[in-house]
Symmetry: C2
Subunit: 221 residues, 2 copies
Protein backbone atom coordinates (compact mmCIF):
# COMPACT_ATOMS: atom_id res chain seq x y z
CA UNK A 1 0.00 0.00 0.00
CA UNK A 2 1.70 3.20 -1.12
CA UNK A 3 1.14 5.93 1.45
CA UNK A 4 -0.83 9.08 0.91
CA UNK A 5 -0.66 9.46 -2.86
CA UNK A 6 -3.31 12.04 -3.72
CA UNK A 7 -6.49 10.59 -5.12
CA UNK A 8 -7.17 11.36 -8.74
CA UNK A 9 -10.05 11.31 -11.23
CA UNK A 10 -13.12 11.47 -8.94
CA UNK A 11 -15.41 11.07 -11.94
CA UNK A 12 -13.71 8.64 -14.30
CA UNK A 13 -14.69 9.44 -17.86
CA UNK A 14 -18.37 9.09 -18.59
CA UNK A 15 -17.93 9.49 -22.36
CA UNK A 16 -18.34 5.74 -23.00
CA UNK A 17 -21.23 4.90 -20.73
CA UNK A 18 -21.57 1.15 -20.97
CA UNK A 19 -18.75 -0.54 -22.84
CA UNK A 20 -16.56 -1.61 -19.97
CA UNK A 21 -18.40 0.41 -17.38
CA UNK A 22 -20.99 -2.27 -16.76
CA UNK A 23 -18.59 -4.84 -15.39
CA UNK A 24 -16.46 -2.23 -13.65
CA UNK A 25 -19.53 -1.11 -11.79
CA UNK A 26 -20.41 -4.70 -10.96
CA UNK A 27 -16.95 -5.13 -9.48
CA UNK A 28 -17.05 -1.81 -7.62
CA UNK A 29 -20.41 -2.68 -6.05
CA UNK A 30 -19.17 -6.07 -4.91
CA UNK A 31 -15.90 -4.58 -3.69
CA UNK A 32 -17.71 -1.92 -1.67
CA UNK A 33 -19.57 -4.61 0.26
CA UNK A 34 -16.55 -6.80 0.89
CA UNK A 35 -14.25 -3.94 1.88
CA UNK A 36 -16.96 -2.59 4.20
CA UNK A 37 -17.32 -5.94 5.95
CA UNK A 38 -13.73 -7.06 6.12
CA UNK A 39 -11.57 -3.98 5.68
CA UNK A 40 -8.75 -3.64 3.17
CA UNK A 41 -6.56 -6.42 4.45
CA UNK A 42 -9.36 -8.81 5.32
CA UNK A 43 -11.03 -8.54 1.93
CA UNK A 44 -9.93 -10.96 -0.78
CA UNK A 45 -10.09 -10.48 -4.51
CA UNK A 46 -11.51 -14.00 -4.79
CA UNK A 47 -14.46 -13.05 -2.61
CA UNK A 48 -15.06 -9.83 -4.54
CA UNK A 49 -14.92 -11.66 -7.86
CA UNK A 50 -17.25 -14.33 -6.50
CA UNK A 51 -19.84 -11.78 -5.43
CA UNK A 52 -19.49 -9.90 -8.72
CA UNK A 53 -20.11 -13.18 -10.54
CA UNK A 54 -16.90 -13.09 -12.55
CA UNK A 55 -13.66 -15.08 -12.53
CA UNK A 56 -10.94 -13.68 -10.36
CA UNK A 57 -8.60 -13.12 -13.30
CA UNK A 58 -11.24 -10.98 -14.98
CA UNK A 59 -11.29 -8.71 -11.96
CA UNK A 60 -7.55 -8.26 -12.24
CA UNK A 61 -8.01 -7.27 -15.87
CA UNK A 62 -10.18 -4.29 -14.90
CA UNK A 63 -8.35 -3.43 -11.68
CA UNK A 64 -4.74 -4.57 -11.87
CA UNK A 65 -4.20 -4.69 -8.12
CA UNK A 66 -6.31 -5.00 -4.99
CA UNK A 67 -5.09 -1.60 -3.89
CA UNK A 68 -6.15 0.05 -7.16
CA UNK A 69 -9.63 -1.38 -6.68
CA UNK A 70 -9.70 -0.19 -3.08
CA UNK A 71 -8.65 3.30 -4.07
CA UNK A 72 -11.38 3.43 -6.71
CA UNK A 73 -13.97 2.46 -4.10
CA UNK A 74 -12.56 5.01 -1.68
CA UNK A 75 -12.78 7.80 -4.25
CA UNK A 76 -16.49 7.18 -4.60
CA UNK A 77 -16.90 7.45 -0.84
CA UNK A 78 -15.06 10.76 -0.73
CA UNK A 79 -17.12 12.15 -3.59
CA UNK A 80 -20.35 11.32 -1.78
CA UNK A 81 -18.99 12.73 1.46
CA UNK A 82 -18.15 16.07 -0.15
CA UNK A 83 -21.62 16.32 -1.68
CA UNK A 84 -23.26 15.97 1.72
CA UNK A 85 -20.82 18.42 3.30
CA UNK A 86 -22.13 21.24 1.14
CA UNK A 87 -25.56 21.04 2.78
CA UNK A 88 -24.04 22.94 5.67
CA UNK A 89 -23.80 26.07 3.57
CA UNK A 90 -27.27 26.59 2.20
CA UNK A 91 -28.53 28.57 5.16
CA UNK A 92 -27.36 31.35 7.42
CA UNK A 93 -29.67 30.42 10.25
CA UNK A 94 -27.92 28.02 12.62
CA UNK A 95 -31.02 25.98 13.36
CA UNK A 96 -31.75 25.42 9.69
CA UNK A 97 -28.14 24.91 8.66
CA UNK A 98 -27.45 22.39 11.40
CA UNK A 99 -30.74 20.59 10.82
CA UNK A 100 -30.01 20.36 7.10
CA UNK A 101 -26.52 19.03 7.68
CA UNK A 102 -27.55 16.49 10.30
CA UNK A 103 -30.43 15.39 8.07
CA UNK A 104 -28.17 15.01 5.05
CA UNK A 105 -25.67 12.96 7.02
CA UNK A 106 -28.47 10.75 8.39
CA UNK A 107 -29.82 10.22 4.88
CA UNK A 108 -26.35 9.23 3.73
CA UNK A 109 -26.04 6.74 6.58
CA UNK A 110 -29.36 5.29 5.44
CA UNK A 111 -28.71 5.14 1.70
CA UNK A 112 -24.99 4.41 1.68
CA UNK A 113 -24.01 2.64 4.89
CA UNK A 114 -21.20 0.82 3.09
CA UNK A 115 -19.39 4.04 2.31
CA UNK A 116 -19.49 5.02 5.95
CA UNK A 117 -18.13 1.63 7.00
CA UNK A 118 -15.27 1.85 4.53
CA UNK A 119 -14.45 5.28 5.91
CA UNK A 120 -14.50 3.97 9.48
CA UNK A 121 -12.36 0.96 8.62
CA UNK A 122 -9.89 3.14 6.75
CA UNK A 123 -9.56 5.50 9.72
CA UNK A 124 -9.18 2.64 12.18
CA UNK A 125 -6.26 1.16 10.30
CA UNK A 126 -4.50 4.52 10.29
CA UNK A 127 -5.92 6.05 7.08
CA UNK A 128 -3.00 5.23 4.76
CA UNK A 129 -5.03 5.99 1.64
CA UNK A 130 -7.00 9.07 2.72
CA UNK A 131 -4.36 10.60 4.97
CA UNK A 132 -3.70 13.37 2.48
CA UNK A 133 -7.41 14.11 2.25
CA UNK A 134 -7.68 14.39 6.04
CA UNK A 135 -4.94 16.99 6.21
CA UNK A 136 -6.08 19.04 3.23
CA UNK A 137 -9.71 19.01 2.11
CA UNK A 138 -11.21 17.81 5.38
CA UNK A 139 -9.08 20.06 7.60
CA UNK A 140 -10.00 23.06 5.43
CA UNK A 141 -13.68 22.18 5.47
CA UNK A 142 -13.61 21.77 9.25
CA UNK A 143 -11.86 25.10 9.80
CA UNK A 144 -14.35 27.01 7.67
CA UNK A 145 -17.35 25.46 9.45
CA UNK A 146 -15.78 26.15 12.81
CA UNK A 147 -15.58 29.78 11.74
CA UNK A 148 -19.26 29.79 10.81
CA UNK A 149 -20.29 28.26 14.12
CA UNK A 150 -18.03 30.65 15.99
CA UNK A 151 -19.77 33.58 14.27
CA UNK A 152 -23.11 32.18 15.49
CA UNK A 153 -21.68 31.98 19.00
CA UNK A 154 -20.47 35.58 18.75
CA UNK A 155 -23.97 36.63 17.73
CA UNK A 156 -25.42 34.81 20.72
CA UNK A 157 -27.33 32.33 18.53
CA UNK A 158 -25.36 29.33 19.79
CA UNK A 159 -24.16 28.73 23.33
CA UNK A 160 -20.43 29.20 23.88
CA UNK A 161 -18.55 26.03 22.97
CA UNK A 162 -15.68 24.58 20.95
CA UNK A 163 -17.26 24.25 17.49
CA UNK A 164 -15.17 21.28 16.42
CA UNK A 165 -16.50 19.03 19.15
CA UNK A 166 -19.99 19.79 17.92
CA UNK A 167 -18.95 18.72 14.44
CA UNK A 168 -17.46 15.52 15.85
CA UNK A 169 -20.71 14.91 17.70
CA UNK A 170 -22.70 15.23 14.49
CA UNK A 171 -20.34 12.95 12.60
CA UNK A 172 -20.41 10.36 15.35
CA UNK A 173 -24.16 10.38 15.88
CA UNK A 174 -25.06 10.11 12.20
CA UNK A 175 -22.42 7.64 11.06
CA UNK A 176 -23.33 5.38 13.96
CA UNK A 177 -26.53 4.44 12.13
CA UNK A 178 -24.43 3.17 9.23
CA UNK A 179 -21.39 1.70 10.96
CA UNK A 180 -23.37 -0.04 13.71
CA UNK A 181 -26.46 -0.97 11.74
CA UNK A 182 -25.96 -4.61 12.63
CA UNK A 183 -26.06 -3.81 16.34
CA UNK A 184 -29.08 -1.55 15.91
CA UNK A 185 -30.82 -4.29 13.96
CA UNK A 186 -30.03 -6.86 16.66
CA UNK A 187 -31.42 -4.55 19.35
CA UNK A 188 -34.50 -3.99 17.20
CA UNK A 189 -35.47 -7.66 17.36
CA UNK A 190 -33.30 -8.68 14.39
CA UNK A 191 -35.24 -6.41 12.03
CA UNK A 192 -33.60 -3.37 10.42
CA UNK A 193 -35.13 -0.03 11.35
CA UNK A 194 -38.06 0.62 9.03
CA UNK A 195 -38.51 4.02 7.41
CA UNK A 196 -40.77 5.27 10.18
CA UNK A 197 -38.35 4.29 12.94
CA UNK A 198 -35.43 5.80 11.07
CA UNK A 199 -37.32 9.04 10.56
CA UNK A 200 -38.04 9.12 14.28
CA UNK A 201 -34.36 8.60 15.07
CA UNK A 202 -33.39 11.34 12.64
CA UNK A 203 -35.96 13.85 13.89
CA UNK A 204 -35.11 13.15 17.51
CA UNK A 205 -31.40 13.56 16.87
CA UNK A 206 -31.95 16.94 15.23
CA UNK A 207 -34.25 18.04 18.05
CA UNK A 208 -31.86 16.94 20.78
CA UNK A 209 -28.79 18.53 19.24
CA UNK A 210 -30.53 21.81 18.43
CA UNK A 211 -31.88 21.99 21.98
CA UNK A 212 -28.37 21.29 23.16
CA UNK A 213 -26.64 24.12 21.33
CA UNK A 214 -29.19 26.78 20.34
CA UNK A 215 -29.34 29.78 22.61
CA UNK A 216 -32.89 30.43 23.73
CA UNK A 217 -34.15 33.90 24.46
CA UNK A 218 -32.70 35.09 27.74
CA UNK A 219 -35.95 36.69 28.92
CA UNK A 220 -36.23 34.42 31.97
CA UNK A 221 -32.88 35.17 33.58
Amino acid sequence: MTPATPLESPLPDRSKPTIRSAKEQLILDAAEKVFAELGFKGATTSEIALRAGIPKANLHYYFPTKEALYRAVTENVLTAWLAAASSFDVNDDPAEALAAYIGAKMDMARTDPLGSKIWASEIMRGAPVIEDFLHTTLATWLASREAIIQSWINKGLIVPMQPRYLIYLIWAATQHYADFDHQITALNGSAPLDDAAFTTAKTQLITTLLRGVLNVAKSDT
Copy 2:
Protein backbone atom coordinates in the same frame (compact mmCIF):
# COMPACT_ATOMS: atom_id res chain seq x y z
CA MET B 1 -15.29 -18.93 12.72
CA THR B 2 -17.98 -20.83 14.57
CA PRO B 3 -21.07 -18.67 14.88
CA ALA B 4 -22.52 -17.34 18.10
CA THR B 5 -21.18 -19.80 20.62
CA PRO B 6 -21.71 -18.21 24.02
CA LEU B 7 -18.60 -16.68 25.55
CA GLU B 8 -17.32 -18.41 28.61
CA SER B 9 -15.01 -17.70 31.58
CA PRO B 10 -14.90 -13.89 31.67
CA LEU B 11 -12.31 -14.01 34.42
CA PRO B 12 -10.02 -16.97 33.66
CA ASP B 13 -8.68 -18.35 36.90
CA ARG B 14 -6.53 -15.97 38.88
CA SER B 15 -5.33 -18.63 41.33
CA LYS B 16 -1.93 -18.90 39.62
CA PRO B 17 -1.05 -15.28 39.02
CA THR B 18 2.19 -15.37 37.07
CA ILE B 19 3.14 -18.85 35.92
CA ARG B 20 1.85 -18.78 32.39
CA SER B 21 -0.16 -15.60 32.80
CA ALA B 22 2.77 -13.37 31.99
CA LYS B 23 3.20 -14.53 28.41
CA GLU B 24 -0.52 -14.94 27.88
CA GLN B 25 -0.96 -11.31 28.83
CA LEU B 26 1.87 -10.32 26.51
CA ILE B 27 0.09 -12.10 23.68
CA LEU B 28 -3.32 -10.66 24.57
CA ASP B 29 -1.94 -7.12 24.63
CA ALA B 30 -0.31 -7.52 21.25
CA ALA B 31 -3.40 -9.22 19.84
CA GLU B 32 -5.64 -6.39 21.04
CA LYS B 33 -3.61 -3.90 19.05
CA VAL B 34 -3.43 -5.96 15.87
CA PHE B 35 -7.12 -6.96 15.92
CA ALA B 36 -8.09 -3.32 16.56
CA GLU B 37 -6.12 -2.13 13.55
CA LEU B 38 -6.83 -4.89 11.08
CA GLY B 39 -9.96 -6.69 12.23
CA PHE B 40 -10.24 -10.43 12.73
CA LYS B 41 -9.59 -11.46 9.17
CA GLY B 42 -6.94 -8.87 8.46
CA ALA B 43 -4.89 -9.69 11.54
CA THR B 44 -2.20 -12.37 11.30
CA THR B 45 -0.81 -14.55 14.03
CA SER B 46 2.68 -13.81 12.73
CA GLU B 47 2.18 -10.10 13.29
CA ILE B 48 0.78 -10.68 16.77
CA ALA B 49 3.65 -12.97 17.69
CA LEU B 50 6.12 -10.46 16.29
CA ARG B 51 4.71 -7.63 18.41
CA ALA B 52 4.57 -9.87 21.46
CA GLY B 53 8.24 -10.69 20.91
CA ILE B 54 7.76 -14.45 20.77
CA PRO B 55 7.99 -17.08 18.03
CA LYS B 56 4.76 -17.75 16.23
CA ALA B 57 4.64 -21.38 17.31
CA ASN B 58 4.82 -20.29 20.91
CA LEU B 59 1.68 -18.21 20.41
CA HIS B 60 -0.10 -21.29 19.09
CA TYR B 61 0.93 -23.14 22.20
CA TYR B 62 -0.95 -20.70 24.44
CA PHE B 63 -3.83 -20.05 22.04
CA PRO B 64 -4.37 -23.01 19.73
CA THR B 65 -6.18 -21.06 17.03
CA LYS B 66 -6.46 -17.50 15.85
CA GLU B 67 -10.16 -17.58 16.68
CA ALA B 68 -9.52 -18.73 20.27
CA LEU B 69 -7.17 -15.79 20.74
CA TYR B 70 -9.71 -13.41 19.22
CA ARG B 71 -12.44 -14.68 21.51
CA ALA B 72 -10.21 -14.22 24.53
CA VAL B 73 -9.53 -10.62 23.51
CA THR B 74 -13.23 -10.06 22.89
CA GLU B 75 -14.17 -11.35 26.33
CA ASN B 76 -11.93 -8.73 27.92
CA VAL B 77 -13.69 -6.04 25.90
CA LEU B 78 -17.11 -7.21 27.04
CA THR B 79 -15.99 -7.33 30.66
CA ALA B 80 -14.80 -3.74 30.51
CA TRP B 81 -17.98 -2.68 28.72
CA LEU B 82 -20.19 -4.15 31.43
CA ALA B 83 -18.19 -2.43 34.14
CA ALA B 84 -18.80 0.98 32.57
CA ALA B 85 -22.46 0.19 31.96
CA SER B 86 -23.09 -0.03 35.69
CA SER B 87 -22.23 3.64 36.16
CA PHE B 88 -25.67 4.41 34.80
CA ASP B 89 -27.27 3.04 37.95
CA VAL B 90 -25.57 4.88 40.76
CA ASN B 91 -27.94 7.81 40.73
CA ASP B 92 -31.65 8.48 40.54
CA ASP B 93 -31.24 12.01 39.26
CA PRO B 94 -31.23 12.01 35.45
CA ALA B 95 -28.66 14.78 35.13
CA GLU B 96 -26.23 13.03 37.44
CA ALA B 97 -26.88 9.55 36.08
CA LEU B 98 -26.46 10.61 32.45
CA ALA B 99 -23.41 12.71 33.23
CA ALA B 100 -21.82 9.81 35.09
CA TYR B 101 -22.52 7.39 32.26
CA ILE B 102 -21.30 9.71 29.50
CA GLY B 103 -18.23 10.49 31.57
CA ALA B 104 -17.50 6.82 32.17
CA LYS B 105 -17.84 6.01 28.48
CA MET B 106 -15.58 8.93 27.56
CA ASP B 107 -12.98 7.77 30.07
CA MET B 108 -13.14 4.30 28.55
CA ALA B 109 -12.65 5.70 25.07
CA ARG B 110 -9.59 7.50 26.41
CA THR B 111 -8.02 4.67 28.37
CA ASP B 112 -9.02 1.70 26.20
CA PRO B 113 -9.53 2.86 22.62
CA LEU B 114 -8.46 -0.55 21.33
CA GLY B 115 -11.39 -2.30 22.97
CA SER B 116 -13.78 0.11 21.34
CA LYS B 117 -12.20 -0.46 17.94
CA ILE B 118 -12.42 -4.21 18.30
CA TRP B 119 -16.09 -3.84 19.18
CA ALA B 120 -16.69 -1.62 16.15
CA SER B 121 -14.86 -3.97 13.84
CA GLU B 122 -16.74 -6.97 15.21
CA ILE B 123 -20.09 -5.24 14.66
CA MET B 124 -19.16 -4.13 11.15
CA ARG B 125 -18.37 -7.67 10.06
CA GLY B 126 -21.73 -8.88 11.33
CA ALA B 127 -20.86 -9.71 14.96
CA PRO B 128 -20.37 -13.47 14.53
CA VAL B 129 -18.66 -13.82 17.93
CA ILE B 130 -20.73 -11.44 20.07
CA GLU B 131 -24.08 -12.02 18.39
CA ASP B 132 -25.36 -13.94 21.39
CA PHE B 133 -24.24 -11.15 23.72
CA LEU B 134 -26.11 -8.56 21.64
CA HIS B 135 -29.38 -10.47 21.89
CA THR B 136 -29.12 -11.34 25.57
CA THR B 137 -27.03 -9.23 27.94
CA LEU B 138 -26.97 -6.07 25.84
CA ALA B 139 -30.65 -6.21 24.88
CA THR B 140 -31.59 -6.70 28.52
CA TRP B 141 -29.36 -3.87 29.66
CA LEU B 142 -30.83 -1.57 27.01
CA ALA B 143 -34.42 -2.43 27.94
CA SER B 144 -33.86 -1.74 31.63
CA ARG B 145 -32.21 1.62 30.94
CA GLU B 146 -34.95 2.55 28.52
CA ALA B 147 -37.38 1.92 31.37
CA ILE B 148 -35.41 4.19 33.67
CA ILE B 149 -35.30 7.00 31.11
CA GLN B 150 -39.00 6.52 30.38
CA SER B 151 -39.74 6.94 34.08
CA TRP B 152 -37.82 10.23 34.00
CA ILE B 153 -39.89 11.30 31.00
CA ASN B 154 -43.08 10.37 32.85
CA LYS B 155 -41.97 12.53 35.78
CA GLY B 156 -41.32 15.44 33.43
CA LEU B 157 -37.58 15.44 34.14
CA ILE B 158 -36.63 14.54 30.56
CA VAL B 159 -38.31 15.81 27.41
CA PRO B 160 -40.52 13.26 25.62
CA MET B 161 -38.42 11.06 23.36
CA GLN B 162 -37.56 7.50 22.38
CA PRO B 163 -35.02 6.56 25.08
CA ARG B 164 -33.11 4.10 22.93
CA TYR B 165 -32.04 6.73 20.41
CA LEU B 166 -30.61 8.73 23.28
CA ILE B 167 -28.60 5.68 24.32
CA TYR B 168 -27.39 5.25 20.74
CA LEU B 169 -26.40 8.90 20.70
CA ILE B 170 -24.32 8.47 23.84
CA TRP B 171 -22.66 5.31 22.51
CA ALA B 172 -21.90 6.97 19.19
CA ALA B 173 -20.58 10.23 20.62
CA THR B 174 -18.28 8.63 23.17
CA GLN B 175 -16.94 5.72 21.14
CA HIS B 176 -16.15 8.14 18.32
CA TYR B 177 -13.20 9.45 20.35
CA ALA B 178 -11.75 5.94 20.42
CA ASP B 179 -12.70 4.57 17.00
CA PHE B 180 -11.78 7.73 15.09
CA ASP B 181 -8.85 8.87 17.19
CA HIS B 182 -6.62 8.84 14.12
CA GLN B 183 -8.94 11.27 12.33
CA ILE B 184 -9.22 13.48 15.42
CA THR B 185 -5.45 13.48 15.72
CA ALA B 186 -5.03 14.41 12.06
CA LEU B 187 -7.50 17.29 12.45
CA ASN B 188 -5.63 18.39 15.58
CA GLY B 189 -2.44 19.05 13.61
CA SER B 190 -1.22 15.44 13.86
CA ALA B 191 -1.06 15.60 17.65
CA PRO B 192 -3.35 13.48 19.81
CA LEU B 193 -5.73 15.42 22.03
CA ASP B 194 -3.93 16.28 25.25
CA ASP B 195 -5.64 15.79 28.60
CA ALA B 196 -6.94 19.35 28.71
CA ALA B 197 -8.48 19.14 25.24
CA PHE B 198 -10.02 15.77 26.00
CA THR B 199 -11.50 17.09 29.22
CA THR B 200 -12.99 19.99 27.28
CA ALA B 201 -14.51 17.59 24.75
CA LYS B 202 -15.92 15.45 27.54
CA THR B 203 -17.37 18.37 29.52
CA GLN B 204 -18.87 19.93 26.42
CA LEU B 205 -20.45 16.65 25.35
CA ILE B 206 -22.09 16.23 28.75
CA THR B 207 -23.29 19.83 28.73
CA THR B 208 -24.72 19.62 25.21
CA LEU B 209 -26.53 16.35 25.75
CA LEU B 210 -27.96 17.36 29.12
CA ARG B 211 -29.21 20.64 27.63
CA GLY B 212 -30.70 18.60 24.80
CA VAL B 213 -32.75 16.24 26.94
CA LEU B 214 -33.31 17.75 30.40
CA ASN B 215 -36.63 19.42 30.93
CA VAL B 216 -36.13 22.91 32.26
CA ALA B 217 -38.62 24.57 34.59
CA LYS B 218 -41.67 25.51 32.61
CA SER B 219 -42.10 28.84 34.38
CA ASP B 220 -41.65 30.85 31.17
CA THR B 221 -44.38 29.26 29.03
